[in-house]
């Protein structure tokens, strides 16, 4: 019937039975923390919380107050995560002996940045002191408060009488890497806005802070451009498979309220088939011998009209998306079509590129970089752009995605002084049977040859869920809790590595996500206490 030859899963399975069948009450709350904070001191002294009395509010010393939307929204959200799902459990438990925790007071120390967008240098550190009757959450900025509220909510559990309980504790926390991202792909399959928002919820539960929105690709162009409406009119799957300007605004604001940046990717000059439908002459006509074959290749890099189009287009993008970075793609450019086209051959001769089409690609990318600089944005590119010896401006971020020898690539890129994002080991669209999260968890992003200065250039990484086989039907269970493994790797200390310990905590965390409405799939056999309310 079922094969049992799977060593690790089986071992972990035994663990699962031990870990999960312990009633929630006696499960230590430490067990449920994900990702593990930098430093956790936990006393055995218990405090109880009652939904009627407990309150999250601003400390009088805080630079933020009730006018800070980000915090007001977060207070309400976390109150609901903590109590909302249990309302019908209210009742006795008054006679409980433990002293009560009545308040969590939040204090922002520096300028709060309430109305700002998060960026790559946003301070997400916080400290949390849980003591009766008032707990204090202190952070330099609102971003740290958001992370601290998540941690606080993870500390609370219900004992066997249903009483909300928390251990007195002292937590000091900050992330190991500043860029912790999830890539979603809305071109291979359209993802309804609701699905994207749900993903942002789950990202916040895992302290991710970047949504890398691979918004268009060969297959479809769902981004509704104000300047070039024909792009989505002609290039989307259907007129209902588009993101309107309002949809985009909703996503960006929903993300901001959770301390998450939204980085759009408009991948060129390859992966651009869908652009061609709504923008005449943008793509290169491919030739079959001396005649046009009727098919098109990458963006045509030899026409002025191309660059005036890109200039206007990216000018729009730079105002629609507030983040400093735009992802420009630059991966997997196919040269055959360029090679077949006589005008391009002529251009190559003129420019003295010989038959080295990489030089043509470099020519294109350089001009694109200039356009991006004029609109005062920073660029992120896939590793090919670096590999092809494009002269990059300082500060261009290189995303390493090719699995073979990715450590060497990290060495090379950082040796040249460029910041690196790691994705190669975290392509979550590659599924396999069993507990593959362990594989993602065991990756060490700084495990490459390089000076300590080189290591500091690794600004983080991204779990990528490409969309060839993923849409709204299976995105959530395919992403969570597998991406959670990446989340902890990017947030927690380098020496937090035990997959046995992680298994226990992640099992609890997965059930918490399910309770909060995220259909995160199981790690192994076992159950969640509130399964029926998915």
């Amino acid at each position: 019937m079922e094969q049992r030859g799977w060593g690790l899963p089986r071992l972990l399975g035994l663990l699962a039975l031990l870990a999960v069948q312990v009633p929630r009450s006696s499960a230590s709350s430490y067990m449920g923390l994900w990702p593990l904070p930098l430093s956790v001191e936990m006393s055995p002294r218990l405090l109880r919380l009652s939904p009627e009395n407990f309150h999250i509010g601003h400390d009088s010393s805080s630079t933020a107050g009730p006018s800070c939307t980000i915090l007001q929204e977060a207070f309400r959200r976390y109150y609901d995560y903590i109590f909302g799902f249990y309302k019908w459990h209210r009742g006795p438990a008054k006679s409980h002996a433990a002293p009560e925790l009545e308040q969590l007071l939040v204090s922002v120390v520096l300028d709060s940045q309430c109305n700002a967008f998060p960026n790559v240098s946003s301070d997400e550190s916080y400290s949390l002191l849980v003591k009766g009757p008032v707990a204090i959450l202190k952070a330099n900025r609102v971003w740290g408060v958001l992370r601290g509220l998540e941690t606080f909510s993870q500390l609370i559990y219900q004992d066997s009488y249903g009483t909300f309980t928390i251990n007195e504790s002292n937590i000091v926390d900050s992330p190991r890497f500043p860029h912790r991202g999830i890539l979603i792909d809305t071109a291979r399959h359209y993802l309804p806005v609701k699905t994207i928002l749900k993903t942002l919820d789950a990202m916040a539960f895992n302290k991710f802070n970047v949504l890398h929105w691979h918004i268009v690709d060969d297959q479809s162009f769902p981004y509704q451009s104000i300047t070039f409406p024909q792009l989505s009119n002609k290039g989307s799957y259907s007129l209902s498979h588009v993101y309107t300007p309002n949809d985009v605004r909703i996503v960006i604001e929903y993300a901001r309220l959770r301390g998450i940046r939204v980085i759009p990717e408009f991948d060129t000059p390859g992966h651009a088939q869908s652009w061609g439908k709504g923008q005449k002459d943008l793509l290169t006509p491919c030739y079959h011998g001396h005649t046009q074959s009727g098919t098109f290749g990458p963006i045509n890099p030899i026409l002025n009209t191309t660059y005036s189009f890109l200039s206007k287009f990216f000018n729009e993008i730079s105002t629609v998306f507030p983040d400093h970075f735009i992802h420009l793609g630059g991966d997997e450019v196919e040269f055959q079509c360029w090679e077949s086209n006589p005008d391009i051959q002529k251009f190559m001769q003129q420019k003295g590129f010989g038959t080295d089409f990489k030089k043509l690609e470099v020519f294109y990318i350089q001009k694109l970089f200039n356009i991006i600089s004029t609109v005062n944005k920073g660029s992120i590119v896939w590793q090919e752009v670096f590999d092809n010896n494009v002269k990059l401006q300082p500060g261009v971020v290189v995303q390493v995605w090719k699995y073979g020898d990715y450590a060497k690539e990290q060495s090379r890129v950082t040796a040249e002084g460029f910041p690196v994002l790691l994705s190669a080991p975290w392509y979550l669209d590659y599924i396999s049977y069993g507990q593959d999260w362990v594989k993602y968890y065991n990756v060490e992003p700084l495990d490459f040859d390089g000076t300590s200065k080189q290591k500091t250039l690794v600004i983080g990484g991204e779990a990528c869920l490409w969309g060839e086989y993923v849409d709204a039907t299976n995105l959530t269970p395919r992403l969570w809790p597998r991406a959670s493994a990446v989340g902890e790797r990017l947030w927690s200390r380098q020496d937090v590595r035990s997959s046995q310990d992680a298994y226990k905590r992640l099992t609890v965390h997965r059930c918490r996500m399910v309770r909060r409405g995220v259909a995160a799939e199981p790690l192994f056999t076992g159950y969640c206490n509130h399964e029926d309310r998915v």
């Binding site: 019937m1 079922e2 049992r4 899963p9 399975g13 039975l17 069948q21 291979r188 399959h189 359209y190 309804p192 609701k194 699905t195 749900k198 297959q219 479809s220 799957y237 259907s238 209902s240 498979h241 669209d429 590659y430 599924i431 396999s432 049977y433 069993g434 507990q435 969309g467 060839e468 086989y469 993923v470 849409d471 709204a472 039907t473 299976n474 959530t476 269970p477 395919r478 399910v514 259909a519 995160a520 799939e521 199981p522 790690l523 192994f524 056999t525 076992g526 159950y527 206490n529 399964e531 029926d532 998915v534």
Partner: protein, 492 residues
């Protein structure tokens, strides 16, 4: 009021270039034309033919008519058209159903006939079938032929599966609430308050399945895979020994005690009455002998019986006693292939389910051996859908030919079908549906359609359409490849 804009109608098309290509699984025989007929929600009805054996009051068909009405028209579209808008084309205002043999209140069985003939032309709109089960399959096909103009364990029935194999309990938990042994669930389920199936749950599942022509085949796997039985049935499992001391752990069901068989006797009496299908699945797979070996009482018993060191003989002893018990209740049984491999003497009408891909022999060889011994076989080995890989793995599943083994026509006739299996180690309600559908659809067509329907391009297109149709019907079926459906899945 712009009548024509507010009411809408459906078209029944037969053009192979059109809607018929969305059929799944592909019918045994189909002949089509270009003619299209409109269908209007307000006056379309399913009708029993006057000489049909099934007449109004037939629960299976009455319910099915309701279900397919909703699937065809939804529940929102009941506007009457303006009489002035009357169409001139020939419209279809009824589908007449003729069932040849009576029987509406029965359960489907292994022998139930599911064949049907569906005729749509200028003269008649007629569905003929031997049994109500055939009528259900025909109604599904009819619903797949209908499409919208101008734009356009339900899902098991949508793909014409007809057996729900319910692997109810296993090592990790015992959710079946037994009324003779309530302690089994109380002590053996994940959570005895919530993570259980009550008698009422079971009844509802069986009736829901029956109305869709689906049998419920329950599995209570013994003597291995029974850890969860232990806490609620003291003395049932074998105590394992470490040297001369019990180690505190337990192994398979203890086959040497009379009390074991008394327990099984009572337990399966209950199961036989709760689950009406003629067949029970008795498991019998992956029995680990190490615990039996360690136990001195079992060693004594082996000597007494003259089994030597051959624990397969002990397993045989257990299974044969169990089979005698179940046979006495007038039930047939299905077992996993190990029972056959280990040469347990079983009754000739036993069904052997082949699940191992390679060992001890390839599954095709196993089918050959099983049928050569004159047993009926069910194939599952290539259809373990819980094993996932990147990409369109449904193709591999689709291309399996269950009869591609060496054997006589008589042997081939003994392969009664197969099952797509979705084992639950990594699956729960969060990911079950998208992991199962539309991949299981590939198995469904292999088991329903003609052996000659094997063109992957043709299947790929139809299966993609079928997947969109499943989405439209509210089934969270995952995509096969890049693309889209008019109606995407929406988070709730």
């Amino acid at each position: 009021m712009a009548g024509s804009a507010l009411w809408f109608f459906l078209l029944l098309a037969a053009a192979l270039a059109g809607r018929a290509t969305a059929l799944w699984p592909w019918p045994q025989y189909i002949q089509t034309s270009d003619l299209r007929y409109p269908i209007f929600p307000h006056n379309f009805q399913f009708q029993y033919h006057v000489s049909s054996a099934a007449q109004p009051g037939c629960s299976v068909l009455d319910e099915a008519f309701q279900r397919y009405r909703d699937l065809l028209f939804g529940s929102d579209f009941w506007h009457r058209p303006d009489p002035a808008e009357k169409q001139h084309t020939l419209e279809i205002n009824s589908l007449v159903i003729h069932v040849a043999t009576p029987g509406c209140d029965q359960l489907p069985s292994l022998e139930s006939a599911e064949n049907y003939t569906l005729t749509i032309n200028d003269e008649q709109n007629f569905l003929f079938s031997e049994t109500v089960w055939g009528a259900l399959r025909g109604l599904e096909t009819f619903s797949q032929l209908v499409w919208r103009s101008p734009e356009g364990t339900d899902v098991m029935a949508y793909s014409k599966f007809n057996v729900f194999h319910w692997h109810m309990v296993d090592d990790p938990s015992f959710p079946y609430e037994s009324f003779t042994f309530p302690e089994l669930t109380r002590k053996g389920s994940y959570n005895p308050a919530t993570h259980i199936y009550t008698a009422q749950d079971v009844k509802e599942v069986i009736e829901y399945a029956r109305l869709r022509g689906i049998r419920v085949l329950v599995e209570f796997d013994t003597p291995g895979h029974t850890q969860s039985w232990g806490p609620g049935a003291p003395g049932l499992l074998t105590p394992c020994y470490s040297g001369s001391q019990p180690s505190g752990t337990f192994g398979p069901v203890n086959p040497i005690l009379n009390s074991t068989y008394e327990f099984m006797s009572t337990f399966f009496l209950e199961v036989s009455s709760v689950f009406p299908d003629f067949y029970l699945h008795l498991g019998g797979d992956e029995v680990d002998f190490s615990c039996w070996k360690s136990n001195p009482d079992i060693q004594d018993f082996m000597k007494k019986k003259g089994f030597g060191n051959d624990f397969k003989k002990l397993e045989s002893f257990y299974i044969q006693t169990l089979l005698d018990i179940v046979s006495a209740y007038g039930k047939g049984y299905v077992v996993w292939q190990e029972v056959f491999d280990n040469k347990v003497k079983v009754r000739p009408d036993t069904i052997i389910q082949v699940w191992r891909e390679e060992a001890p022999v390839s599954y095709m060889k196993e089918l050959e051996l099983v049928t050569n011994a004159s047993f009926r076989a069910l194939l599952s080995a290539p259809w373990y859908l819980n094993h996932i890989t990147y990409g369109p793995d449904w193709e591999k599943v689709y291309m399996v030919e269950p009869l591609a083994f060496d054997g006589t026509p008589e042997q081939k006739a003994l392969v009664i079908g197969g099952e797509a299996c979705m084992w639950g180690e990594y699956v729960d309600s969060t990911n079950l549906v998208p992991r199962l559908w539309p991949r299981a659809g590939a198995v469904a067509e292999r088991l329903w359609s003609s052996k000659l329907v094997t063109n992957l391009d043709f299947a790929s297109k139809r299966l993609a359409d079928f997947r969109c149709e499943l989405l439209r019907r509210g089934i969270q079926a995952q995509p096969l490849n890049v693309g889209y459906c008019e109606q995407e899945f929406e988070e709730t």
